[in-house]
Symmetry: C2
Subunit: 333 residues, 2 copies
Amino acid sequence: MKKIGKQTILFDNPPTILECASIVGPKEAEGPLCKYFDQTLEDEFWGEKSWEKAESKIIKETVNLVISKSGISNQEIDICFAGDLLNQCISSNFGLRDTNVPFFGVFGACSTFVESMSLSAICSESFANYSLCATSSHFCSAEKQFRFPLELGNQRPQSAQWTVTGSGSAIISKTGQGPYITAITPGKIVDMGIKDANNMGAAMAPAFADTLVTHFLDTGRTPNYYDAIISGDLGYVGKDIVIDIMASQGYNIKSNYNDCGILIFDKNKQDTHSGGSGCGCAATVFSGYLYKQLQEKKIKRLLLIATGALMNSTSSHQGESIPGIAHAISIEI
Amino acid sequence: MKKIGKQTILFDNPPTILECASIVGPKEAEGPLCKYFDQTLEDEFWGEKSWEKAESKIIKETVNLVISKSGISNQEIDICFAGDLLNQCISSNFGLRDTNVPFFGVFGACSTFVESMSLSAICSESFANYSLCATSSHFCSAEKQFRFPLELGNQRPQSAQWTVTGSGSAIISKTGQGPYITAITPGKIVDMGIKDANNMGAAMAPAFADTLVTHFLDTGRTPNYYDAIISGDLGYVGKDIVIDIMASQGYNIKSNYNDCGILIFDKNKQDTHSGGSGCGCAATVFSGYLYKQLQEKKIKRLLLIATGALMNSTSSHQGESIPGIAHAISIEI
């Protein structure tokens, strides 16, 4: 692999995304992408005593599923990257403690899935035959931790996003028939001073635009190189901002740009306001829907840019703004 | 680079640890390693209004320092790996938001520094000229988040460790005169059912032994290959357990094994009970003390194995055990 331009890495022998798996919660099962997920849950507990334990079970079973679907064994996996939104990434730590696979924990908030795919791709070209990546999020555990007790029934502002309950996982292989990871553009932290923790889309949009423009400049590509440019997860508010920022930079992305948080829920029938979010959103939309679009050649060139809001509840209470980040991964068949 | 055995990666062109920097708090400044740190603070706030903001400032200034000492510019850094103990790794996110460097957040609890060095080394051999790694911890922010308000003056059990206030940072270069990162052994999550959050040493010791034995089996090396085998941070309780476990596996590590948490504080004069801990412990002991021992050839072959306890306060309240992890990095001159 080699670095080109300011931030982009091109793969000489692009790794293959060998297999994906996804498990989602009941609300996601009522959304427009339902048929693409491997498994849908009837409730948010899945037989566990807490939402945190349920989230661990979701990522655990998603990882078990992707390994089983891929036909390889745990022993063949050379490295694993995983993370989630819970403090100290406990869903991943507890969910993956029985996998018996070398493990690197990663945290990039909602950008974590693309971060883990990026690092898996780097490892696959350099030493690993198979890398595993996985992330999860859970509406109830996230609301409890970041916002208010669900029992309060707090009203959410229209700019708020709905944390996806679900997990996505992928196995990246050194060799294979694609879809191939052909390039990555790891993002820089961008903080434009947004302080509203109920408007993550606005906080993350500048980071998305920074990474996307950098990707275009580094590679010499333009928006129409890609069949689809997908963010994860800016929601409706962030999507509008991003289209405007990109236009101001001379890029028209209106025709082929969409967002995982918009794709996963039905705007009219499901009351999620600005759309979905969470580590599990980009992970499930990619592992469920987008990966199948690539396999069926409905999308031949995908740029997936996952975005993260790098704050916690303490930083917001202390009056801090919300730093954003966005990592891009180019996937082609 | 190539994988050998079960988990170890050998570098064909071992990257150089070009420069290190460390900043520590007032208690660490009273410890036996004081003279090795670049900067020591007079209090835990460093002019900031909260411990969290102070921790962000510590990692920020440590990173600024290592960049300044190295003589390279921010623009030359191809990738950065950083993480810390605070929820959602806010010290790193806020501390590094102005660096303008491609950023991957990592979380491995107290193992994070070696995780970030390992990933930096992988990137350095594959595409990066310069990688940056940094971690931090802060006694007050960690106690507040994981245990009790400091104002309570709670008594700590003898098995408890004292979170180091400090940050360590390193720049890894594709080329150079060493010290060289010659091999890494990423660890697996090991959970032996320890539930006492005041005895992290016991919780992490099995993961340390698992990685160390695997490293020996993968490389064919024995304990006496290394001048020093250093864990970070098992403390006194964990050190004793580890020596016993290794002896039961046929390895005598008594003569050349020590622990960052033991090295950083004076057992008799400083009331830290089982020794130091925290992302900043291994980071400062390596960046301050061990790196200089390598430069001065007092240590020629170092195996640094940082250990992490992958829990949070919610998981302990829900009766969960504490999964441990340990990542090894072999550094030679």
